[in-house]
Symmetry: C2
Subunit: 223 residues, 2 copies
DNA sequence: TCCATCGTTCGCTCCATGACGAACCATTTC
DNA sequence: GAAATGGTTCGTCATGGAGCGAACGATGGA
């Protein structure tokens, strides 16, 4: 009877304040254990379990056991894109500029860098001719391949991943798109392991360290 | 306390089977009166009123009075994009190929053509050099401007609209993008008024008329 | 003017489900 | 082993809200 995708089931899974908050947390946090999600949504562990189960049944998140912990992450980049679209709609009118400064400046979006930092880096790579624009993605130019390898990112394993290589992700706070996909994730991870950015404890968003300031300036010019 | 967009409110509005179904109907139908939405979701007029009010308060839809009717449409193209993203996630696994053939072939997506018809036309325009790809949109080439004017579409008023001119919309059934925005809407409307496609009564989806077959072939080659 | 149609408001019922605490299992640590 | 920690299961409670019918305004047509 009902044709097309089963939106009702999905809407039911998404349409709860606590669950959507969990998805939101996972957008920034890459992966979190159950307790963090319970705490982050202000709900008891028992309640969190129920919500996480439901989200998992709807295939919006996936979990793996790590010892006595259970870590959760968004199931697919497609889900991340959906949450992003929801956030884009949810931001409206006077609330636009109410996005807290730290979040506008730098934050994770799923598993890559977003906010002005993510966009600045993307723009710098475009200006430098390391990336070019394609229909639904970015493409890595020959000079870009060199650049990424020199930056310490091995490209071969990234290409082997099943996910999109250099996806374009639209940012809800800045309304422009930035590098995502396997390459975006690798870049974020590299910048993180270089100690250039750090997660702010107990707050969402990222901070650029002093050495990060220098490094970013050296590699990307003024962001 | 809660930073960023107010996802909870939005999720609440979206997270109901009847309401999401209404949004789905509006994706295909451009605009519908309250009764059609009630009937289409299998719900009493009284219930429909409540849902429509809620959707309107969440600014997902807008309404205008026409005599004793009240016609509803999606509030913004951004909302359409969000619903599209939800549909993309909702289609999964074995259901992918379960999308009914008529809907895969031709249908409205918000206010422009989608399905294979929409993509075929978009591809033909790209191949013919009438459209080119830009970062988040299509761009109309000089030859494209001629083409659209010759096809009976005045471009000037379209450019004056506040909405995006030639947006790229990702299709949930075909997973590729097609022409949307003001230009896409105008194209769909033109093709419709030429009598090339017709809405299927009581079914979702569109049919291409015999004269449409000829006309499309003449203008776009084999789709 | 009267009637038909469309939509809304109101009062009501009823079910789904979100929330919790307490007890329980599983894993790591000491 | 025992203790500590993370997660799950279960039973219960409360509430939100989805649904309807009936009565009511408003509009348009005959």
């Amino acid at each position: 009877m009902d044709a097309g995708p089963d939106l009702a089931a999905l809407a039911g899974a998404v349409g709860d304040a606590t669950r959507i908050r969990m998805l939101e947390l996972l957008m920034e946090g890459r992966s979190l254990v159950a307790k963090e999600l319970a705490f982050g949504t202000g709900v008891s562990p028992a309640t969190a379990t129920a919500h996480l189960k439901r989200l998992e049944q709807a295939r919006l998140i996936r979990s793996t056991r790590q010892g006595r912990n259970k870590v959760f992450r968004l199931a697919t980049p497609t889900v991340a894109r959906m949450v992003e679209a929801l956030m884009t709609v949810a931001v409206r009118g006077p609330r636009v500029s109410a996005t807290p400064e730290p979040l506008r400046a730098a934050r994770y979006c799923y598993d890559h860098l977003a906010g002005r930092l993510g966009m600045g880096i993307t723009d710098a790579l475009l200006r430098g001719g390391h990336l070019s624009l394609r229909r639904r993605a970015f493409a890595l130019t020959p000079s870009g391949e060199e650049w990424f390898e020199a930056f310490g990112i091995k490209l071969a394993p990234l290409r082997d991943q099943r996910r999109q290589f250099a996806h374009r992700c639209l940012d809800w706070s800045e309304r422009r798109d930035h590098l995502a996909g396997a390459l975006g994730a690798a870049l974020a991870s590299r910048v993180f392991s270089l100690g250039w950015v750090e997660r702010q404890p107990d707050s969402r968003g990222l901070v650029v360290t002093p050495s990060g300031q220098r490094g970013l300036k050296r590699h990307f010019g003024s962001l």
